[in-house]
């Protein structure tokens, strides 16, 4: 899942709400054999539809001692046979041995079984255990055949040879940008993962630098597990480097592709001091051409309590929206330009004012999107 979608961020105090909402969301050599040449399965010609059909009634006929081993039907001509009035009701095929019958050159071409009545035949007790009791004539299996069929591979498994879920790794700068703001601001958002299809270890980081110091910076170490076709559960820790003293959070959230292809990320954080934070991010990709792509993004941040030391306010603290236009020189390498708007709310806005920071602010950005 690449980051290529418009982000639309709503704010939810607890991601629990999001969590609740989102996921709920050969032997036959017949290949050359035309039937005329090599008729097989003579029993079939007798019209037994399917062994799964049924019921056998063997009344009084007893073929127990029949020996077909030496029968030769080569020159049989069934052309003019008329089975119309056959009655199979009382046949007993229980112990027939068809093992070595040779019907090689029988010609059933013009047999007419049209009006045979098998309705009351009961094959229930026929022994089809040996394959040659019906269907193609399979040669008896020898030990050499068995050895050839199941060679001793000394424990080698096909799965060892063909790993359909190999460990892969990816690293991406979704954003690495210069921002047109006082003090040469720069911002980044990176993600890296290593793992298999459904379980991965993630390192996510984002931050901003301006005037030579870190405005804010955080890194998350998460384990992801795909629990739904479109959603991964993310569990781990987050570390804030700035602003203020460093701070650690437990993180739990989801990320995935919402309907209409909104790439979405929602995470709730719990700090040691009992504070709760939540972040929601959504992005979208609008293809102007297959290389020129407009990417709207929305991100919201919320806190349970105001933290004056860090300048964050209770409730919806910050809303950010961005519009970036990138050109994919290669899939993995795309320069972009864009415009980012952000606004602070509630206590957060007051704290911003108190620090002489803007409550609302829009800026041009230019950067690179790179992944491998």
């Amino acid at each position: 899942m690449n980051a290529r979608h418009l982000r639309l961020r709503l704010i939810a105090l607890s991601v629990a709400a999001c969590l609740a909402g989102l996921p709920v969301a050969h032997a036959m050599t017949a290949e050359t054999a035309r039937r005329e040449e090599m008729p097989r399965a003579p029993q079939r010609s007798a019209g037994h539809e399917s062994k799964s059909q049924g019921s056998i009634d063997r009344g009084s006929m007893n073929h127990d001692s029949m020996d077909h081993d030496s029968m030769d039907h080569d020159s049989m001509d069934h052309d003019s046979m008329d089975h119309d009035s056959m009655d199979h009701d009382s046949m007993d095929h229980g112990s027939m041995d068809h093992g070595s019958m040779d019907h090689g050159s029988m010609d059933h071409g013009s047999m007419d079984h049209g009006s045979m009545d098998h309705g009351s035949m009961d094959h229930g007790a026929m022994d089809h255990g040996t394959a040659d009791a019906a269907g193609p004539l399979l040669p008896p299996i020898t030990d050499a055949d068995r050895a050839a069929a199941f060679p001793d591979l000394g424990g080698m498994r096909m799965q060892d040879h063909m790993d359909d879920d190999p460990v892969l790794a990816s690293f991406a700068f979704d954003r690495l940008e210069w921002q047109d703001a006082p003090g040469d601001a720069a911002a980044w958002e990176t993600k890296a993962w290593v793992g298999r299809s459904f379980d991965r270890l993630w390192l996510r980081s984002e931050g901003e630098r301006s005037g030579g110091r870190l405005e804010h910076a955080q890194a998350e170490l998460l384990w992801s597990h795909a629990f739904h076709p479109w959603w991964d559960l993310m569990v781990g820790i987050r570390h804030d480097f700035a602003p203020g003293a460093s701070k650690d959070w437990l993180a739990i959230g989801v990320q995935g592709l919402a309907p209409y292809k909104f790439e979405t990320k929602a995470t709730a954080y719990l700090a040691g001091d009992g504070r709760i934070a939540a972040s929601f991010e959504a992005e979208y990709e609008l293809l102007l051409t297959n290389r020129l792509i407009l990417q709207p993004l929305v991100e919201a941040t919320l806190y349970s309590r105001t933290d004056a030391a860090r300048g964050t306010g209770a409730g919806l603290d910050r809303l950010e929206a961005g519009l970036r236009l990138r050109y994919e020189i290669r899939r993995e390498f795309a320069p972009y330009v864009g415009w980012v708007w952000q606004r602070r709310y509630g206590d957060g806005a007051d704290l911003a004012r108190a620090h002489g920071e803007p409550v609302e602010d829009g800026r041009l950005v230019a950067g690179l999107r790179v992944w491998f």
Binding site: M28, A41, R146, P151, M158, D164, S197, T289
Partner: protein
Amino acid sequence: MPAFARPGPARPSALTGSTIDLSIGELAVDYTGRTRRAVTVNGTLPAPLLRFTEGDTVTIRVRNTLAEDTSIHWHGIILPANMDGVPGFSFHGIHPGQTFTYRYTLRQSGTYWYHSHSGFQEQKGLYGPLIVDPREPDPIRSDREHVILLSDWTDEDPYRIFAKLRKNAEYYNRHKRTVGDAIADIRRHGWGATLDDRRLWGAMRMSPTDLADVGALTYTYLANGVTPAGNWTGLFRPGERVRLRFINGSAMTFFDVRIPGLKMTVVAADGQNVHPVTVDEFRIGVAETYDVIVEPSGQDAYTIFAQAMDRGGYARATLAVRDGLAAPVPALDPRPLLTMADMGHGGHGGHDAHGAPAKAAPSGHEGHAGHDTQAAGAARDEHDAHGGAHAAMGHGTAAMQTHPASESGNPGVDMQTMTPTPRLDDPGIGLRDNGRRVLTYADLASRFADPDGREPGRTIELHLTGHMERYVWSFDGIRFGDAEPLRLRYGERLRIVLVNDTMMEHPIHLHGLWSDLEDADGAFRVRKHTVNMPPGTRRSYRVTADALGRWAYHCHLLYHMDAGMFREVRVEEGSA
């Protein structure tokens, strides 16, 4: 260029005889202006043509000069399991420096091929034609023949391609719909229809442009190992009956083949003779083979044009009376879009073969309606029951499809088809109503009756599943690494029903046993080794478990196979 691919005599030169030596190694090739290492046999790409006679017992010594393991699988050849060339089932593979001796008796005739079953060597050039001449005089008469082996070459390391697809499944699709396309659609169809359409695809989080996972962005399409510009040429004399043996040895590419100015009479499919059917064009799935007869006369040169199904590029060759000639190369057809009907989501008869009037949607499944509820993850009770036998099995009626429980809530399953049908008479995406007579599976009929004759004693239904975005592929939502073998009893006759729950087309190949394709009513039609499964189809075939052993059963799209769309079929002795 291997000997068979050089223009020449009436029959392409081949390695023949009862003992053959093959050496697998690397070779520097340049198809794009950059030199790359291909994996080749006896220093040629494609590998040399092997030509045997039905009934012969052949010994083939394969030496591995690579630094990695290798193997050769004889595609479509019926042989003992330990000669099948699948590492982990048949043998250990051929280690570097080792020689493995294959020995088997040919009990069939026709056009086949061979390729590596190790890693991604197939993508790197390890494939070649294998022809078995019938012991009796060939019922297919021809004055001359050529092998046309189609393939896809990439300069990239196939492991990189696989990793890229896992990270960004749309990596190779540079033809997704844009804002400009939306504006054009609004002009043509109005706001309502356009928004509806975008809403549907958006709700599924899919793209109707998804026709090939890997395309011309990285592929160069080859005919007999030659680029379109290189123009491989096969000779003919006017008035001759020329047999063309087409083999699709691609890793990932379906080709639509035609020869402007010539009718093609299809006489064999997957090596097995069929009742002749004359067409203008045919689609050849990966690993399939088709033999056609053409009778060129009146022109000195004809173009054999094989465009990729996604219309990103083509392979090209020429039939000519002498070397150095060329005929016009047609433009690529317009790039088709998938429709909801293609994927078996009800719909409006968009898949009817030749301009049949649009039919009403099957009851309750109006084209679009209802799809949302069927989107993956919306596990509904009815999907939890995996009905092995369905009342509507294969009768062409669009009955509501049930799905195995293992697909429900499965993170590796992004779609389930609702009303799949066999659609044997469908030329396929991008070939409908193109003004040409296009071969369909419904046209294929073996020149022999059902070689077994028994009714299947049981039915196994398997769903082709996957997730485009995650790029995982599987049967019934279970990838090979997690799957149990399918167990067949030696001698039994069974029916396999495949249901395509994905939006991609999958050529499904069963090793060791034939796949006897049935029509919509369950009657035998044609014997094949690879059965193509377009999206939204439900197709069935009969299998006689007449070969003991462990057999590979998989999608022949290389990256789908390696991403898990693979099963072991184990034929064992057992009691009834």
